[in-house]
């Protein structure tokens, strides 16, 4: 892989990550959110694969394949099935309107770039320049968690945060150790499965998947 191709691939992947994250804030349709998540997972896999090829680590390429299988295919598929079963295709109880959501996402992206300046300064390579994108993903994921009320949207926000953490990890450390990364991936799968069961139960109990119904649980 040549230097310029590597740089362009990394730029494309990070651009896709940012774009899908910001679109998550904008779109209200849960089906669209799931598709965006699949694209984001694929972009992350592309990023990991590019780093693996550039640095010649075979196991990173393997991780890229696993990441694509899990984050690009399996998790979005599980979510899509949940949505199909529950029949809720729109997030209509968001706390902020799309415009303010986009403005907040822009503010958070600015904050992420400001915070990660010292990290970027450490290394002149294209990978380091993509670190703020990972941080943006974490913050935007948090924003999704905070503003959406449907259980499915919560899972999506959580996965965006996880993608952000993985991005930063791959870009700064050249990839976390394989065992740790696989462990984290397994955790994420388990969490999503548990959330899926929980949302199914929630729906059985309340007939809806709105987290506001959980308010009664406080003491």
């Amino acid at each position: 892989m040549t230097e310029s191709l590597f740089a362009q691939t990394v730029a494309t992947a990070t651009g896709l990550l940012m774009l899908t994250a910001v679109l998550q804030v904008w779109r209200r349709s849960t089906d669209a959110s799931t598709r965006l998540l699949a694209v984001q997972g694929a972009a992350l896999a592309l990023l990991v694969g590019a780093i693996g090829l550039a640095e010649g680590h075979a196991e990173l390429v393997a991780v890229a394949v696993v990441v694509f299988a899990l984050k690009g295919v399996l998790l979005p598929w599980v979510l899509a099935r949940t949505i199909a079963r529950s029949g809720i295709h729109r997030e209509d109880s968001s706390a902020v309107n799309p415009v303010s959501g986009l403005l907040a996402a822009a503010g958070l992206a600015t904050l992420a770039y400001a915070v990660s300046r010292p990290l970027v300064a450490l290394d002149a390579g294209p990978a380091a320049h993509a670190v703020p994108a990972g941080l943006t993903l974490v913050l935007v994921g948090f924003l999704v968690l905070l503003t959406r009320h449907r259980a499915v949207s919560q899972v999506i926000g959580f996965l965006v945060i996880d993608n952000g953490i993985a991005t930063v990890a791959f870009l700064t450390a050249g990839g976390v150790p394989l065992v740790v990364e696989l462990g984290v991936l397994l955790d994420v799968v388990l969490v999503v499965l548990i959330l899926r069961i929980l949302s199914a139960r929630l729906e059985l109990a309340h007939g809806e998947l709105d987290l506001h119904d959980l308010r009664e649980l406080h003491d």
Binding site: A95, L108, L111, A112, A114, V115, R117, L139, F142, L143, L145, L146, H149, L211, H212, L214, R215, E216, L217, H218, D219
Partner: protein, 672 residues
Amino acid sequence: MTLTDVGLLSQPVLAGLAFIAALAVNDSRRSAIAGTLNALLGLATAATGVGALLGEPGSLTFATGIPGIAHLGQLALAPDRLGGIFLVVVGVVGALSAWFGVGYAHGATATRAAWAAYPIFLWGMSIVPAAGDAVTFLLGWELMALGSTVLLHSEHATRPQVRSAVLWYAAMTHLSFVLLLAGFAVLIASANGTTWEALAASPPTGVSASLAFVLLAGGFATKAGLVPVHVWLPRAHPEAPSHVSAAMSAAMVKLGIYGLLLVTLRLLPDGPRWWAIGLLVLGGVSAVYGILEASVTSDLKRLLAFSTTENLGLMVTGLAVAMMLRSTGQRAVADVALVAVVLLVISHAAFKTVLFLGAGSILHATGERDLDRLGGLARRMPRTAFATSIGALAAAALPISSGFVAEWVLLQSLVHGDTRGPTADRVIAIALPITVAVVALTAGLALLTFVKVVGIAFLARGRSPEATNAHENPASMTVPMWVGAGLVLGLGLVPGWVAMVAAAAVGASGIEPAGLAGVALPSVNALLDPVSLVLMSLAVAVPIAVITVRAARKAPRRTVDLPWGCGGVRVDPTMQYTATSYAEPLVRIFDDALRPTRDLDVTHTVESDYLVREVAYRQRMVDQVERGLYEPVIRLLWRIGDQARRLQDGSVHRYLGFSFAALVVVLLVVTW
């Protein structure tokens, strides 16, 4: 291996065995097996103390940390002579209480949790005086608090007061721990290491020394139950099972005194004058307030709890006087005061064990601890009555008991302190006479209080069916009381060697044995030989008694009816003094300090308003310190708690928002 080594090593083994036995043995035999193992643990602790007192070196160290990864340092147990005294006290009291528990514990007090907590409590108490460094000390302190809290909690299902007592106790014991933690942190900051040697080698100076002293004294005073941090005592002692009350009151609170001795003798020996004045005020107020509350309460165990505050107050008074005298160079008299403190510790441990076990025995037989509903137990429970009376003798500081010897030595130091000579100054000239007055008032009130206990509970006639139908308890409960009573009399009659040991423990000189195992204080030119005194008194009293009896035999016997029987009923239980009516004059005298609430309901007969059918009188004592000092604080905490509830409304999004806001704020601060 020395005796100390063997003792230190056998304690964790026995504690572990007792813990396992409590969990593994079934209900029918748990009390017997776990109680016996705990008694053995107590004896091992006492043996360790004897070893330490004999000056045999011994230590036990545990390495802490995760093997192969992190080494956090060593926990060291290495008791010195001062610790040895307290080890013996803890061990003997713990053994007697556990032994009593074999017969006493039943139902909720003999559950797995209760018996499993006992060895934790006991071992924690034995770690504290044996600890060689601050970390081990605090670890033992917390084990002790943990075990005692679980034990105190045992009867929570049947009595709601227990829950409130547990909350008070837990809050106050945490306060004590936090103060100690902060105090030791100040000491450690200026020293190189956490061992007592390292802390004593480079003590802090100036303001940090005073800060450390105030924090540590506050923490130890809370555990010792001194006014105004005594509030947990009159709640926890009555509500705990009686054998636990005995261990808490006779052994655990003493560790507060051990801590104060440790701080003032070893860690921060040369403090400014106001430290001693502060302790003197604390001790004096505790002594008077404690015995005043004790004298007017009619709940037997609450009374004993307040009497504990009084005795601990006297100990702190003695310590403060010793510090004061030392700072003016009167070391010989100061040594006498220090010996008095140790004697008070030993004496109080002995008699308070007997008294609480006696209260437990009464509670077990009658289900009552309200003196107003007891009476006539001397005939129904003679063995309990005899042992408890000997305990009461010591609590009232009367001759031939240990209490008398201890208070005698304390008063010797007070009256022989130089208030006018070249070494005296204005503070001592004022403080010593006032202290004498305080001790005298305390002794007088203590006499009244324990005359009330013995007179109302054991003499006269039963005031309730429970009291008139009481039966003596089995030997497993009465024998530990007798052993305790024997210790009280032994210390009272042959105090010589105990005083020598006490002097060695605090490094005091000028104590010598005298006469038949008596004690002499050459530095203040005083001598006490109880055995000779008893023989002399008998030589005078026996002839008088013989002559009186013989003279009385000659006169014919007359029967006199009581005038207020109106010729009808000769004696009725309702005609007797009750505990409340006996204390009525005191309540009147100290009305402003005690502020009791009284209800008087007079029911008239239907036929005429001039004829009274029934009079109901109720008097309730509320601790004034608690009302004035704690209730406002508690109300404030409630208000803050209610405000804080608004932050936590159960919305998941709000909680997420908190963490998100925190993250963004941190990032902003970092970027700045």
